[in-house]
């Protein structure tokens, strides 16, 4: 049986444009203590932050690159060639009219202001190192919901910020968490007061415009007791010849009975190293759900996790990864059970096209002394071509007799006969592949908010259409 032909050119061109900018603040190339002093001074941060960052820099230098288990491609990141801070000011605008022209045009091309009007409770739009725009609908703000950047968070709400910042993901967690802790800029700080249920999603959009640049946003979301919030993030960058680095840290805290849902649609251009640490802490009866879609980037390494610290806490990761020609999506989930009757669910679906490689890494940890814990893990891989690659590395330690675990994995391939069948009904080869891939992820996509499932379907269509000759 021959296989559907696919060539190299993948078109996700919607984000592939950039503007020449004169940045007012530029920390220059390379990373030293001076870089950190520059960032701290521009931002006017307190001394404890300067110390926090400098400590993190030392940890970053000390930690080895994790190439003993992860891709050797990491060695191609030249930290000395990267610019760590670029901005035109540290205060985001509250009105789109006040946003500098090039930035405004960028976000308009990406449809952000329109989405805000249609269905969002608040939006933050980050351009390189700082948010250009940040606004929360008045009704939501009036409920006491805080939605700002980390700089405003640590400056204006230190009592909440300091309590949780760096507590879910410590600086020493991994090399890239340390890097982020050293040079973080932008991202979101969200606090939802007890019992407040934010009806519409809050959204952040991360845009990289500059070449040889690293974006290091830092997000901390705290849902107080019984609160509920949904946060969505999107991202794009223009395609440059040189590598771009994106290394975020996202910490979620769901206090007793709270619910946080965090949705990512990642569409970085194929020159971006996307190395992100995401973890949530779920207290008693709290629920944290990550919906993580990775379509773009050169190499993504991201394993959203939930630490279930309180009885009855629930953690969930829904992961969709599409690895196109030359891309490596190394994704997965971490579920750490630390209390009785905690339940976790991981569903991962990956698609590998051409030489694209999808890797699933999953960690499930249930210690012996707990009882009534449940984990369900399902990972399915779809291969489009015979040379496509998928790997699965589950690490499951479930001890004790009073806990249960289910693990299922499957690998399937789109057959040439299936494509021929669809073509014989009038669909082009690209449409046929798109339909197969959309069918494969359909049961997961149905869980998304409508706007995002439409967006994801469009991205899959673009990717699959572009993958055939």
């Amino acid at each position: 049986m021959s296989s559907p032909k696919a060539n190299i050119d993948i078109d996700r061109s919607v984000g592939d444009f950039h503007y020449k900018m004169d940045y007012e603040f530029d920390a220059g190339t390379g990373l030293t203590e001076k870089t950190i002093d520059y960032i701290v001074d521009v931002k006017g941060e307190p001394d404890w932050v300067r110390e926090f960052r400098k400590h993190a820099l030392r940890v970053f230098h000390k930690k080895p690159m994790p190439t003993h288990w992860a891709s050797k491609d990491l060695n191609n990141i030249v930290f000395d060639n990267i610019r760590y801070y670029l901005s035109s000011g540290t205060t985001p605008k509250r009105n789109w009219e006040d946003v500098p022209e090039e930035m405004k045009q960028t976000f308009e091309r990406l449809g952000i202001p329109e989405q805000e009007r249609r269905f969002l409770a608040g939006v933050e739009a980050q351009f390189d190192s700082e948010a250009a725009y940040s606004n929360i609908k008045k009704a939501v703000g009036d409920q006491g919901v805080i939605f700002v950047g980390p700089l405003e968070g640590l400056r204006d709400h230190p009592e909440i910020f300091k309590k949780w910042f760096g507590k879910v993901i410590p600086t020493s967690d991994n090399k890239f968490a340390a890097l982020n802790s050293a040079v973080f800029s932008g991202g979101s700080f969200i606090y939802v007061p007890p019992g407040v249920k934010v009806k519409h999603p809050l959204q952040a959009y991360f845009r990289i415009n500059a070449e040889n640049f690293g974006q290091f946003e830092r997000t901390l979301i705290i849902a107080d007791e019984g609160a509920e919030v949904m946060y969505m993030e999107g991202c794009t960058a223009p395609k440059f010849e040189t590598a771009t680095l994106h290394s975020a840290v996202v910490e979620l805290v769901a206090l007793k009975g709270a619910k946080i849902q965090y949705i990512t649609v990642q569409n970085w251009s194929n020159n971006v190293f996307n190395l992100v640490t995401k973890r949530g802490l779920a207290m008693e009866d709290a629920e944290i759900k990550w919906i993580d879609c990775n379509i773009g980037s050169r190499l993504t390494m991201k394993y959203p996790g939930v630490v279930m610290k309180g009885r009855g806490a629930r953690g969930e990761v829904i992961s969709i990864a599409l690895a196109g020609e030359g891309q490596h999506q190394d994704t997965g989930a971490k579920m750490v059970h630390m209390a009785d009757n905690t339940t976790s669910n991981v569903v991962s679906k990956s698609i590998s096209v051409g030489t694209g490689r999808a890797t699933y890494r999953g960690l499930v940890h249930v210690p012996k002394h707990l009882k009534g814990c449940k984990n369900n893990t399902e990972c399915d891989a779809l291969l489009i071509n015979p040379n496509s690659r998928t790997d699965t590395y589950p690490a499951i330690t479930v001890r004790g007799e009073k806990n249960s675990l289910q693990h299922e994995a499957s690998v399937s391939q789109v057959s040439a006969e299936q494509i021929f069948y669809m073509q014989s009904r009038g669909l082009t080869e690209g449409q046929a592949m798109s339909l197969s891939v959309n069918g494969f992820v359909n049961d997961l996509v149905r869980q998304f908010p409508m706007e995002y499932s439409v967006e994801l379907k469009r991205l899959i269509d673009l990717q699959m259409e572009g993958s055939v000759g």
Partner: protein, 252 residues
């Protein structure tokens, strides 16, 4: 020119030639049957006409005078050719209704959008005709379908896509007599001056329900005999062996 014309068609897979210089013309409005034993090349003929990528093909396939050689299978479909598969493929996660809708949408021009209400009215009407339950619209294409359900689904797609030439590959296989009658009724309802049909079968049974205008016998990749519908009965009574000398003659 209103015909599906096959001229000196040779079809090989690897080094093996399966169809060896076949000629056939189906005029619009006619129903032809190609009968033959397993391995005579019938299914290969059907798939080659539809443009299956695995074959090396020479000769000519003319759709209303237009050459189809080198044309992609999807374009052949949009130009009015339909193949009802002997073994229809499953498409997990894609609902039957969405699949048919996508196929119809693929026939529209840029910016044109299929009317959803009209589509469903039309779909339900055809489903009722074929005795297909409504729940099938939301089930994944052919997934978990019985043999009979798959074949009915092929006829449903044919009705919805309204081709000008339809090739039906062993549509009778795997059908019990009741299902066969329903499928035949569906095909007969489509029959008319705007549709040419090529039925591929190795049993005469189907031809009791869909009565052909012309019957061809295929052996070793060639048509060895052509006749009226009575030829099918002759084959049923005498088997295929008596045609062997004619097959050898055709090769020589």
């Amino acid at each position: 020119m209103s015909s599906l014309q096959i001229k000196d068609l040779h079809v090989s897979i690897g080094d093996k030639e399966i169809v060896r210089g076949l000629n056939l013309e189906i005029k619009k409005g006619e129903v032809h049957a190609v009968m033959g034993l397993n391995g005579s090349g019938k299914s290969t003929l059907a798939k080659a006409i539809a443009g299956h990528p695995d074959y090396t093909v020479t000769g000519s396939v003319l759709l209303d005078g237009e050459e189809m050689m080198g044309v992609e299978p999807d374009e052949r479909s949009r130009k009015g050719l339909f193949l009802a598969f002997q073994y229809p493929n499953e498409i997990p996660g894609v609902s039957n209704a969405n699949f048919i809708r996508a196929a119809l949408q693929a026939r529209l021009g840029e910016g044109e959008e299929l009317d959803a209400v009209e589509f469903y009215e039309h779909l339900y009407e055809k489903m009722d005709l074929l005795g297909i339950k409504r729940e099938m619209t939301s089930r994944s294409v052919n997934e978990g379908f019985s043999g009979g359900e798959k074949k009915r689904n092929e006829i449903l797609q044919m009705m919805m896509l309204a081709p000008t030439y339809a090739i039906m590959d062993e549509t009778d296989s795997g059908l019990d007599i009741d299902a066969l009658k329903v499928v035949a009724e569906g095909v007969n309802a489509q029959r008319g001056p705007n549709l040419g049909i090529l039925l591929i079968t190795h049993y005469q049974r189907l031809l009791d329900y869909i009565v052909p205008d012309i019957v061809h016998v295929m052996m070793d990749g060639q048509i060895v005999k052509t006749g009226g519908k009575e030829l099918a009965y002759e084959l049923e009574a005498k088997g295929y062996d008596w045609l062997k000398p004619e097959a050898e003659l055709a090769v020589a």
